[in-house]
Amino acid sequence: MSMPETAATSDAATPAEPLETDLVHKARRGDLDAYDELVKRYQQRIYATIYHMTANHEDANDLAQDSFIKAYQALKSFKGGSSFYTWLYRIAVNKTINFLKQRKNKQHFSLNDLDFQTENNPDLVALISHKTPLREVGLTELQKKLNEALLKLSEPHRMVVVLHDVQGQSHEEIAEIMDCNIGTVRSRLFYARQQLQGYLTEYAKPA
């Protein structure tokens, strides 16, 4: 099972606007079935964002659940200035960043397994094929190195890379989620990529 994180898949999963508004209205009136529908709709993306930030499945599970619960409790304060999806993302992002600040120096991996499609990804195959003859070992090692490198970035820089390069969000969406301007998003992304490239020179050489 692959998480729908790319821009293409997220576009496909984005619901029609009126339906989402309708669900939000119902949930505000205490309709838990409507909220259940909203949770199902966004659970994978919210979980994935938090997971990529923490590199820990258990933490991501707790934080994702907490984010949805907090969003439900705060639904009355949701004015509808942005989409419910952006608003929910903002709650999850803030919760994750606060959590990571408290967890500083206590980082421990609990990485998810790679799905079966990984070995068929031509980009990844090309990247590791000349590094090691044992492809599986190479991928697992690559996964670990990548997560280590990501955890070396500051939380805002990591968040921008995760949202843009992993989740496929646009600069505008990220700016709205992180409550900053697009220029800041661009500069953070550039700096974060530079840092990552430095940490992963063995795998990601500049062209």
Binding site: Y35, D115, A204, P206
Partner: protein, 171 residues
């Protein structure tokens, strides 16, 4: 921009590995159910934590407390300074005359200046009354300013005060 994008092409390919990291099979089948049951449990018990209530009612205060969570040294420093302040206030509350004497010493003019004002300052009424009574109410400085004897009662003792005479000339 294109050049920099090209420079990061390998890195972006590498980052695609993150998209293949998946939680255990069937994880999302129960996720929403768990969220909803936690919401139901919270509603039934009405059990919002103190911090959650504070966040809803006074977010600035919740953020203030959160600073202490992230920097435990800060709360120690603040507690130490509060203790110090408390100890200092207790010490100074117990010694009011020291404070008032210090105040007088500061305002006391030099004896060289002379004159009746200087003479009064040389025999401070305040100090005399404090010494004679032995008890000074620190919270009522006005009473401590009252001399034990009236100025007129001591008139003979002081060269500054002479009894007023009303004798017509020639008698």
């Amino acid at each position: 921009m294109n050049e920099t994008e090209q420079n990061f092409e390998e890195l972006k390919k590498l980052l695609t590995i993150k998209r293949h990291e998946v939680p255990p099979p069937g994880y999302f089948n129960h996720f929403s159910g768990q969220v909803i049951s936690r919401i139901r449990a919270g509603e039934a018990g009405g059990s919002q934590t103190f911090m959650e209530r504070l966040q809803a009612e006074a977010p600035w205060l919740a953020n203030f407390f959160r600073v202490f969570e992230t920097r435990p040294g800060l709360i120690g420093g603040m507690a130490a300074s509060l203790c110090l302040l408390l100890v200092l206030s207790v010490i100074f509350a117990d010694r009011p005359d020291a404070a008032s004497k210090n105040l007088l010493a500061v305002s006391e003019p030099s004896p060289v200046s002379g004159g009746p004002v200087a003479a009064m300052a040389e025999t401070p009424l305040l100090a005399a009354s404090a010494d004679s009574s032995g008890i000074v109410a620190s919270t009522n400085p006005v009473t401590s300013l009252q001399p034990t004897a009236t100025l007129f009662g001591q008139a003979g003792a002081s060269p500054l005060f002479q009894p007023a005479g009303f004798m017509p000339a020639g008698h």
